[in-house]
C-alpha cells in the first residue's frame, strides 16, 4: 500500500514536535516532507535569549540535527519557503518552483515580529527578535556600534535588551506604557524588576511613543511623539508578534487573528492542520511556546488516526529568562471586583508575591525574587484547588507544609551549578541545566528520564520544575492538569476510576478495551493501578492478578537491593507475647537471618531471606499464630500505639486496646498507597498520631480524630477531622474514612496529597453525613470479608508455589 503524503510547512518547534509525536505513534504512516524558510534545522527558539547573551551557542540549541531527519526518512528542504498552497490540486509550491503533493498538510508557520509602521521602520539597523538571523544581526551590530534602543518593554524586549547589554552595548528600553511587562506583571512587581534591571545598567524611557526612526542610510536615532529624540545605531522592535497566516489566507482557509483551528487542530479544510503560534484556537492566539506541546500531541494523535485526543486550550505562565532575575506570572493577576488578594512584600530581600483569589481558588499569581513556589501555585490554579485549608500559610510556599531538607533554597536562579538538587541520585543543578539545553527537554518527564533527577523519592520535584521553568522560560510546559495514568492511555486516574463503576468494567481487558489502551497488556505503571481499582471496585468479584502486582505484593515481602526479601509479622497494636518473640527468634535461627531490627511502626523486621525460603519460614510463623504484617504492600500497614491508661500515669483512654481493635478491623485491606494508623493515649501523643493517615489522640472526654498526615518525604501534620465520644464511633469513622480514600484516591497517592487535592471540607461533608458515613463503613466491612485472608498461611500451605521455586538444571 502506498503511504500517504504529509507535508509540513514551517521547520520550527511546533511542527517538528508534532512530527516527533506522530513518529512515536505511527512511525510508518506517512511519507513526510518538511519546508523551512530558514537555512537551519529545527532549533530551540526560546533559547535565543541565552545565545544573544553569550551563554549558549547556536549549535547548542539545535533540537533536531539533519541526521534526525535522515534517520526518520523525512525529506527536509531548508531555505526554501512555501509560496502557495493549492488546495484543489492538493499540492504546495515553494520558492524554488518545486511542487509537492500532499494528502495531509500541517501548517506551522509561527509568527512574525510586529514592526511599528513609523517612518524609517525599514532602514538598515531596524530588526525584530524572533530568529537566528535576528540574533546574528544583533551580535554583528554589537561588535561595531555602541548605542541600542529596544522598543517594547515586554518579555521579548527585556530579554533582547539584557542580551545586548551583555554584549557591551549601551541599551535603552522604550516602552509605551508606564509599567514593564504589563501583560504579565502588576505594578509593584514591575517596579522591582525595573529597579533591578537599572542596577545592571539598562536605561528606560517609559510612556514614550515612537514617532519616527531617524537616519540617512542607516538608523541614527529614534524620535518620539513629544518631539524628543535619542541616538541609536541599532533599533530592535519587540512590541509584539503576529501569527504568520498569509499562506493560509491566500489559500482561502478561514483565518481571523490567526489560522482558526478546531479542538483537533484542524483548519476549516479538514486535510489541513495547523499548530503553534500561527493558530487561533477557541478565540485565543498563544504567543508563547508552552501550548504547542499539547497541541502537537493532539495533532499527531489525529494524524495517526487515533482520534481520541482533544486540545482544550492552555493556561500559560511566564518566566523571564534573564540570568539572576526570578520572576513568575500566571493567570489573571490583576484583581477584578469581588476578588481577594494575598500579598507578601519584603522590599529588603527583594521579594514580592501576590495571589489573586476568587472563591478561595487561585486565579492569578505574580512573584518576584522568590519564585520557587510558582510551579505549585500554577498547579493549584490549573486544578482549581480550594485553598481555604492552607490559605493562612500559602504565601510562605509549599515548603511551609514540610520540605525535604532543601530548606532555604528558594532562589533557584541564584544557585550555583554544583548545588545538589536530587539527593537520591546525586544530580546537581548544572547537570539538569545542561541536559535541558543540550537534549532539548521541555517537560518534567523528559528531565526525569534523562537525568534521573526527582525520579526516585520525588521530593525535589518542585526544585527540578523550577529549574526547568527558569531555564526554558515561557517554553516550560507544565504537566497538563489532566494527567494520563501512563503512556498507554490518554485518560486520567479519575476518569478510569469513574468509568470502571459507571460502565461496570469488571476486568483489566474490559477497562483497556473501553478506554482504548495503546498497549494490549499495559505497562508496569498502569497494570498495578488497574488491578487495585478493580479490586477496590468489585470486592469478591474481581480476580486479583498477581502478574500485575509489583514484586513486593506478589512475593508478600519487601525485595532488597541484593534480591533477598524481608519478613515482618503483624503485631496487632504493637503488642506481643513471649511466645510470639520465641517463634520469631526460632525462625531467625532456623533460616539464618543475618539481621533483625525494630521498625518505626513497632514491628520486627527480619532481613536477608532467600525467596525460596519464604514459604517455609512463613509456615513456622503461621504455626505460632503470626500473620503477614503487609509491610510490603499498598495496604494497611500498622497501628502504632502508646502504653495507654492501663499503665501510663497520664493515659486517658485504653490506647493499646483501641489500637488492637482498629488493626483487627483494618488489616489485609488494599489501598491506593500505604496506610498507617496510630493511637495516642493522651495529648502528649507518644504514638505520633498526628503524622499518620488516620490518627487518634485520646483525651479525657473522648477521642480526637486526625487525618491526612505522614512522615517521610514531605512531613505533613494531620488535619483535625472531629472529636467523638466512644470507641465504636472511632471505628466507624475510621472505616468510613479508609473506604472513601480507597474509592476516590488515585493509585500511589497517599492520604496527605489526597486530602489537599480534594479539600478537607469534602471529606468532612462525607464523614459528618450519618447516612454516607455508615454506607462507606459498610462497604469497607463488606470488602474486608474478602481480604482478611492471611497470604502467608495460604502460601505456607502450598498456593502459588511456583512463584517461589527456581527451576534447577545441572550440568550432566
Amino acid at each position: 500500500m502506498q503511504k500517504e503524503k504529509l507535508v509540513l510547512i514551517g521547520n520550527g518547534m511546533a511542527g517538528v514536535r508534532t512530527l516527533e509525536e506522530l513518529l512515536k505513534l505511527a512511525p510508518d504512516a506517512y511519507e513526510i516532507t518538511v519546508f523551512g524558510a530558514e537555512p537551519h534545522p529545527n532549533y530551540n527558539r526560546i533559547m535565543l535569549s541565552p545565545v544573544l547573551a553569550g551563554e549558549k551557542s547556536v549549535t547548542d540549541i539545535v533540537l533536531n540535527d539533519r541526521d534526525w531527519y535522515g534517520e526518520n526518512a523525512i525529506s527536509l528542504k531548508t531555505g526554501d519557503a512555501v509560496t502557495r498552497i493549492d488546495r484543489v490540486a492538493r499540492q504546495v509550491v515553494s520558492e524554488s518552483g518545486e511542487t509537492t503533493a500532499y494528502d495531509r498538510l500541517l501548517i506551522a508557520t509561527g509568527s512574525n515580529p510586529f514592526i511599528i509602521p513609523v517612518p524609517g521602520h525599514d532602514k538598515p539597523g531596524v530588526i525584530g527578535f524572533l530568529d537566528i538571523a535576528d540574533v546574528e544581526a544583533m551580535l554583528e551590530a554589537a561588535g561595531r556600534y555602541k548605542k541600542a534602543v529596544v522598543i517594547g518593554g515586554g518579555l521579548l524586549g527585556l530579554e533582547a535588551a539584557n542580551g545586548l547589554l551583555k554584549n557591551g552595548m549601551d541599551v535603552t528600553v522604550v516602552h509605551l506604557m508606564d509599567s514593564l511587562m504589563e501583560r504579565q506583571l502588576d505594578k509593584p512587581a514591575a517596579g522591582l524588576l525595573k529597579a533591578s534591571l537599572e542596577t545592571r545598567g539598562l536605561h528606560f524611557l517609559m510612556q514614550a511613543q515612537t514617532a519616527e526612526i531617524t537616519g540617512d542610510e542607516r538608523v541614527r536615532g529614534v524620535r518620539f511623539a513629544d518631539g524628543s529624540e535619542i541616538e541609536a545605531d541599532l533599533v530592535v522592535m519587540a512590541v509584539g508578534i503576529r501569527p504568520n497566516m498569509t499562506l493560509a489566507q491566500d489559500a482561502g482557509i478561514h483565518c481571523d487573528r490567526g489560522i482558526v483551528v478546531s479542538d483537533t487542530m484542524q483548519t476549516f479544510d479538514p486535510r489541513i492542520y495547523a499548530v503553534g503560534e500561527c493558530v487561533q484556537h477557541r478565540d485565543i492566539c498563544y504567543g508563547l511556546v508552552a501550548p504547542l506541546f499539547e497541541q502537537a500531541k493532539v495533532a499527531a494523535n489525529h494524524l495517526a488516526n487515533l482520534g481520541i485526543a482533544r486540545y482544550e486550550g492552555s493556561i500559560t505562565s511566564t518566566k523571564l529568562k534573564v540570568t539572576g532575575i526570578d520572576l513568575f506570572s500566571a493567570g489573571e493577576f490583576n484583581e477584578e471586583e469581588g476578588d481577594e488578594t494575598l500579598v507578601l512584600q519584603d522590599p529588603g530581600a527583594g521579594v514580592y508575591k501576590k495571589l489573586v483569589l476568587r472563591d478561595n481558588r487561585i486565579k492569578g499569581a505574580v512573584m518576584y525574587g522568590d519564585t520557587l513556589d510558582g510551579t505549585w501555585y500554577f498547579q493549584l490554579l490549573r486544578e482549581g484547588t480550594d485553598i481555604s485549608a492552607f490559605r493562612s500559610t500559602i504565601l510562605f510556599g509549599q515548603h511551609d507544609l514540610g520540605d525535604a531538607g532543601h530548606g532555604d533554597q528558594t532562589r533557584i536562579a541564584t544557585l550555583g551549578p554544583d548545588a545538589e538538587i536530587c539527593g537520591c541520585n546525586g544530580v546537581c543543578k548544572g547537570d539538569i541545566v545542561d541536559a535541558i539545553v543540550k537534549q532539548g527537554l521541555f517537560t518534567l518527564e523528559d528531565v526525569r528520564a534523562h537525568t534521573k533527577a526527582s525520579s526516585s523519592c520525588g521530593s525535589c520535584t518542585g526544585l527540578v520544575e523550577s529549574i526547568l521553568a527558569s531555564t526554558v522560560g515561557d517554553g516550560y510546559s507544565a504537566m497538563p492538569s489532566k494527567q494520563p495514568i501512563c503512556g498507554c492511555t490518554e485518560f486520567s486516574h479519575d476518569e478510569v476510576i469513574a468509568g470502571i463503576k459507571e460502565y461496570q468494567l469488571k476486568d483489566m481487558d474490559a477497562v483497556r478495551d473501553f478506554f482504548e489502551w495503546k498497549q494490549a497488556d499495559g505497562c508496569a505503571s498502569c497494570r498495578p493501578a488497574l488491578n487495585y481499582y478493580l479490586l477496590a471496585s468489585w470486592p469478591g468479584e474481581y480476580q486479583d492478578d498477581a502478574q500485575s502486582r509489583f514484586i513486593n505484593e506478589r512475593a508478600h515481602g519487601n525485595i532488597q537491593k541484593d534480591g533477598t526479601y524481608s519478613v515482618v509479622p503483624r503485631m496487632f497494636g504493637g503488642l506481643c507475647t513471649p511466645s510470639d518473640l520465641r517463634a520469631i527468634a526460632d525462625a531467625c535461627d532456623k533460616f539464618k537471618v543475618p539481621e533483625m531490627k525494630v521498625t518505626g511502626g513497632q514491628r520486627i523486621d527480619m532481613f536477608g531471606i532467600k525467596k525460596e525460603d519464604l514459604p517455609a519460614m512463613w509456615k513456622d510463623l503461621s504455626d505460632a499464630g503470626l500473620v503477614s504484617g503487609h509491610a510490603y504492600g499498598k495496604a494497611l500497614r500498622t497501628v502504632k500505639t502508646c502504653a495507654g491508661k492501663n499503665w501510663c500515669r497520664f493515659g486517658t483512654q485504653d490506647s493499646t486496646g483501641l489500637g488492637v481493635k482498629l488493626e483487627q478491623m483494618t488489616w489485609g485491606s488494599w489501598m491506593p498507597h500505604k496506610f498507617k494508623l496510630a493511637v495516642s493515649g493522651c495529648p502528649r501523643n507518644c504514638a505520633e498520631a498526628t503524622i499518620k493517615d488516620f490518627g487518634i489522640v485520646c483525651v479525657d472526654s473522648g477521642y480526637e480524630l486526625h487525618v491526612g498526615g505522614n512522615g517521610g518525604i514531605k512531613v505533613r501534620i494531620t488535619d483535625l477531622l472531629c472529636k467523638v465520644e466512644s470507641e465504636a464511633e472511632v471505628l466507624e469513622y475510621c472505616a468510613a474514612f479508609i473506604q472513601k480514600y480507597r474509592e476516590e484516591g488515585r493509585y500511589l497517592e497517599r492520604t496527605a496529597p489526597w486530602v489537599e487535592r480534594v479539600g478537607l471540607q469534602t471529606i468532612k461533608d462525607a464523614m459528618f453525613d450519618e447516612q454516607q458515613r455508615k454506607a462507606l463503613a459498610e462497604r469497607f466491612h463488606y470488602s474486608q470479608t474478602f481480604s482478611q485472608i492471611d497470604p502467608w498461611k495460604e502460601r505456607a500451605e502450598g498456593s502459588d508455589s511456583r512463584e517461589f521455586r527456581k527451576i534447577e538444571i545441572c550440568a550432566a
Binding site: 502478574q547 511456583r802 527451576i807 538444571i809 550440568a811
Partner: protein, 109 residues
C-alpha cells in the same frame, strides 16, 4: 552449536510472568509474554544487578523491580535513554516444552 536443555513446560511459567532457571554458575530469567512468546535473559539488570525475573512483564519488555529500568526481552537492551544490556539466551518451544540453548556445556554458560 547450541546444546538445548528441556527446562520446563510452557505452563510452568505464568503468562506475563517469569521463572528463574538456576544453573551451576548463574540464574537465568525465563519470561512468558501475553502471546506465549518465551525469552531468556541473565537474571541481572545492567543497572544495579536487580533480578529481572521479579519484574512486571508487558509487551516484550520487563521493568526491573529495583529502579524501573525497562529491558527489551529479545535483545536484553535497556530502553533509551538508559543504556546497558543483559545477556540473552536462545530459547525455543517444542510441543509445549521450553528448551534453553547453551553453547557447549551448561557449566560453561
Amino acid at each position: 552449536m547450541n546444546n538445548w536443555i528441556d527446562i520446563a513446560s510452557l505452563n510452568d511459567i505464568p503468562r506475563l510472568g517469569a521463572r528463574v532457571v538456576k544453573t551451576d554458575t548463574l540464574d537465568i530469567a525465563v519470561f512468558r509474554t501475553a502471546t506465549d512468546e518465551i525469552f531468556a535473559l541473565k537474571d541481572e539488570c545492567p543497572h544495579r544487578k536487580g533480578p529481572l525475573s521479579q519484574g512486571i512483564v508487558h509487551g516484550s519488555t520487563v521493568t526491573c523491580p529495583l529502579h524501573n529500568w525497562k529491558i527489551d526481552l529479545a535483545s536484553g537492551e535497556a530502553k533509551a535513554p538508559d543504556e546497558g544490556c543483559s545477556r540473552s539466551y536462545p530459547v525455543k518451544v517444542v510441543d509445549g516444552r521450553i528448551y534453553l540453548g547453551f553453547k557447549d556445556q551448561v557449566a560453561a554458560a
